[in-house]
């Protein structure tokens, strides 16, 4: 699908969609959104880019194999669950929070890192499956 319009548009859409997916991820705690949807949107952004520019270009753009995002995300989610044990002596997966909200982001706590972990895993899983199938087809 080498159309010039899609190709040009996708170059602008990729950063925009990425930003949007991150926005969806961050607002999840207060408004509709969250790591899962955010991850899916980011994955769609890359798939769109791959459609317009070819898989090789997208892979080159990401640099690492998307599969690596899966263990990283899992580790992040798991660590955020472990954090309360080490910092506060609370049980596994208890939510702990910084006392003051950050500007733009709002309250930052272990749940946010957990959600980022989910986000990364979802991107990793979707892209791994889609890229692998594209390559093998």
């Amino acid at each position: 699908m080498k159309t010039i319009i899609l190709k040009t548009a996708s170059n602008y859409l990729l950063p925009l969609l990425m930003l949007f997916s991150f926005f969806i991820l961050l607002r999840g705690h207060y408004l509709p959104g969250g790591g899962f949807v955010g991850g899916l949107i980011a994955a769609i952004a890359f798939v769109l880019h791959a459609f317009a520019n070819g898989l090789e270009n997208t892979k080159h753009l990401i640099r690492i194999h998307p599969g690596f995002l899966m263990p990283v995300g899992l580790a992040l989610a798991f660590t955020s669950g472990l954090a309360p044990i080490f910092y506060a002596g609370l049980p596994f997966m208890t939510g702990i929070w910084f006392p003051e909200p950050l500007s733009v982001i709002g309250m930052v706590g272990s749940a946010l890192f957990f959600d980022i972990g989910v986000y990364l895993v979802v991107i990793g899983v979707s892209l791994t499956i889609i890229f692998t199938i594209t390559e093998s087809a």
Partner: protein, 774 residues
């Protein structure tokens, strides 16, 4: 004590790394492990014989009642000393027997695990941990029996032994669980206080029956005995260890251990007496027809185990005393004879009793060991075996009404055992030395010293029974719940009925030895009857089961995805539909429905149009696109009914699904081979049924009384506890975070699966192409 049990496992684990060094000259060093353990357990003799019970308690899984609770009392001590003591000699013997064997390190590894597991069985005070160690012995013995894994018969025997003992293990688990729930505890020593409760429980028969099946399979009782002769395919040190002192005695141990808890009821006693006597007679008669030394030993072992079960069945104090003594007697002479057989096999290359004779001229110390063990085997004074036999007769003679019958059974068994003892321990060494064996030479001292030590013990304990009377036998009998009275072991009881019976036994037995000569003809004749033996039955059942499961699997796992999907759906429709139709509670309350808006109607029309298009289009891509439309309308409906989170997720998932479908279908050939009209109607009916079912289910859920506490809790506490306003997300990342974590783990596994599957296929393709190029 935990450390003592774990030492065997630790040793095996370390062998993975250090096996290379141990394989060569230093193999004999591995015997230090059982030796250290033997010394460790021996130091408790003083404390245990003074009536102390040594115990250790470690909490393991408190929520399930599994504690690591170990107890060392009289009966455990006897077993621990046998396991480690005979283990020590077997370890020594092996270093010479399997000298420079390629996998000697592995062999020691299996032996180490086996020893640890056996110690675990005899020391556990918790039925569940006992079960775990029980299974570990089954598994490690599988590797030991199948050690010569290049021989098919060896592999077959190993599988058979594992199947039978593993089958029994399942019953042990079931029995232990029921027993634990009846008694309210899994600790055996605590069950003693609720003996009445257990005996009067309606589950008593089931508990006892399950524990019997476990013990009978492990201890090779009729009709589960047939795995034991097959297990003789193992190297001789394994047979020695498994069949004299350990594996097969585990079942006997289990019965002894539960005697104070479950024993002295009609069911317990009569079942054990019947099964024990059938086994001891049946197996003892079988020894008449064998010509292989190990075959004779195998059947005499089964017979001895039958005697033990029989004695436990009698259940009197005299019988339990006889059982405790006979366990030791049997372990000593049987281990000796196995080791002697191993030497004969190792040096002459034959185990055929019709060929072997006159070996005393070349293997004199071995002949002494064989002779002494045979004396004990036969129960001739002044051996330890004589003492054991006297005790058996004493307990059968004093057993109520049927004393004469059971004494007769015991005498016949002992006569036959005497015959087989002479056959194995004396026959190979007497007579003329054939020419071909004249060059046979003595093995390394590591091989002949162990049987000699055991053989000397066979006689020593007979002449001086006081050595073990106070220290081992008395505490063992006490630990079986028989507190009254002292135990007296004596070689000479004066002239009485028992002595007369012994004289009869020895007389007839010796006569039999000189009259019957083992020959091949009888052995082949008896083989013709094998088609009705339990072994053949089991094998036939196994083959039939295998055949059936192949058919079953081929029918359901035929490789067609559509077949899988329709099977699953059909099953769901059947099971769920049946339940739902039988308990329908939903009612359609039309008044509660909100009025349809125009945009809802439009959405539904689009959705139905999408579905119809999907079903009737002739293009794959168009069908996928139409499915996408259906998905998008669903997410619109989510929006109408204020579920924005769901709508967003549905939207993204749907987009990705369509992309995936397109990616896969895009490459398929354009030519469409549509399914025929019959299949389509079948699929259509199934789909409509499933859709209808899901609708009923949804209505059913609505009809459920509203349990709103949970959702109220989430709604109230989302902000207070988790500082979030979006309840859905708070549930996902906080309240039910572990669920989410599991889900992303599953997703990752799925992705790895897809990756591996497709990449693997590609390499296979590459392999094929390179193959063609060659």
């Amino acid at each position: 004590m935990l450390a003592a049990i774990l030492l065997g496992f630790l040793f095996s684990g370390l062998l993975v790394f250090t096996g290379k060094f141990l394989k060569g000259r230093w193999a004999v060093l591995s015997a230090s492990i059982p030796f250290v353990l033997f010394v460790y357990f021996a130091q408790f003799i003083g404390r245990v014989s003074s009536g102390e019970i040594i115990s250790q308690h470690i909490v393991w899984v408190p929520s399930m009642g599994i504690d690591l609770r170990f107890v060392l009392d009289g009966i455990s001590l006897i077993f621990s000393l046998m396991i480690t003591g005979i283990g020590f000699l077997v370890f020594l013997y092996t270093s010479a027997y399997l000298k420079n064997h390629e996998y000697l390190d592995r062999f020691y590894g299996y032996l180490g695990i086996f020893m640890g597991a056996m110690l675990g069985i005899v020391l556990s005070d918790n039925v569940l941990s006992l079960f775990i160690f029980w299974e570990l012995t089954s598994i490690s013995s599988f590797f030991l029996i199948g050690f010569k894994n290049k021989e098919e018969s060896s592999r077959k025997s190993a599988v058979l032994a594992l199947a039978i003992t593993g089958f029994g293990g399942l019953f042990l688990l079931a029995g232990a669980l029921i027993l634990g729930s009846v008694a309210g505890t899994f600790t055996i020593s605590e069950m003693l206080s609720s003996k009445e409760l257990i005996a009067n429980s309606p589950h008593y028969i089931i508990i006892v029956a399950f524990i019997f099946i476990a013990a009978f399979t492990k201890s090779a009782q009729f009709p589960f005995h047939f795995w034991l002769p097959g297990a003789m395919k193992a190297p001789t040190p394994v047979s020695t260890y498994l069949h004299s002192a350990t594996m097969v005695k585990a079942g006997v141990y289990l019965l002894l251990r539960f005697t104070p808890v479950l024993g002295s009821t009609e069911f317990w006693n009569s079942t054990l007496i019947i099964v024990g006597s059938i086994t001891m007679l049946y197996a003892a008669m079988h020894t008449l027809f064998r010509t292989d030394l190990k075959g004779i030993l195998a059947y005499s072992t089964i017979s001895a185990l039958g005697i033990l079960v029989f004695l436990i069945g009698l259940g009197t104090k005299e019988a339990l005393l006889a059982a405790c003594v006979f366990i030791l007697v049997h372990a000593l002479y049987k281990a000796t004879l196995f080791l002697v057989t191993g030497i004969i096999d190792h040096e002459t290359g034959s185990r055929d009793i019709t060929m072997l004779s006159g070996l005393r001229k070349v293997l004199f110390p071995v002949a002494i060991a064989g002779f002494l063990a045979a004396i004990s085997f036969a129960g001739i004074p002044p051996s330890f075996g004589f003492l054991g036999k006297e005790l058996i007769y004493e307990s059968t003679l004093h057993y109520g009404n049927s004393a004469i019958l059971i004494t007769a059974l015991a005498i016949i068994t002992n006569i036959l055992l005497l015959y087989s003892g002479f056959l194995v321990g004396i026959k190979p060494f007497t007579g003329k030395l054939p020419e071909r064996f004249s060059k046979v030479h003595m093995p390394s001292f590591l091989m002949w010293i162990p049987p000699l030590i055991l053989a000397i013990l066979c006689i020593l304990f007979g002449i001086f029974p006081s050595i073990i009377q106070e220290s081992l036998i008395q505490p063992a009998v006490t630990s079986l719940g028989e507190n009254g009275g002292e135990v007296h072991l004596k070689l000479w009881h004066g002239f009485n009925t028992i002595l007369a019976l012994s004289a009869i036994t020895i007389g007839i037995g010796v006569l039999l030895y000189f009259l019957i000569k083992p020959n091949k003809k009888v052995e082949t004749a008896i083989k013709k009857l094998e088609f009705i033996s339990p072994k053949t039955m089991t094998e036939k059942f196994g083959n039939g089961f295998y055949y059936f499961s192949t058919l079953w699997t081929n029918y359901f796992q035929n490789g067609y995805l559509r077949h899988y999907v329709s099977t699953i759906i059909l099953f769901l429709v059947g099971v769920m539909g049946y339940t739902l139709l039988n308990n329908t509670r939903y009612r359609l309350v039309y008044s509660s429905f909100t009025a349809l808006t125009i945009y809802e109607v439009i959405t539904f029309v689009i959705m139905i149009a999408g579905i119809l298009y999907t079903v009737f289009t002739k293009s794959r891509l168009a069908a996928v696109a139409a499915l996408g439309i259906v998905g998008l309308t669903i997410s619109l409906i989510f929006v109408y009914y204020s579920a924005p989170d769901l709508a967003m997720t549905q939207f993204s998932i749907d987009t990705l699904t369509v992309i995936l479908f397109v990616l896969v279908l895009y490459r398929l050939p354009k030519y469409l081979n549509l399914s025929d009209i019959k299949t389509r109607i079948k699929d259509g009916v199934l789909s409509i049924a499933f859709g209808g079912l899901i609708s009923i289910l949804a209505l059913e859920v609505l009809a459920e009384p509203q349990g709103s506490e949970i959702s109220e809790f989430y709604a109230e506490n989302a902000y207070l506890l988790a500082k979030g306003k979006n309840v859905v997300n708070v549930i996902l990342v906080d309240f039910r975070g572990i669920d989410t974590f599991m889900e992303i783990t599953v997703l990752t596994i799925a992705a790895i699966g897809v990756f591996a599957l497709l990449k693997l296929r590609m390499t296979a393709k590459e392999r094929i192409t390179t193959g063609i190029k060659k």
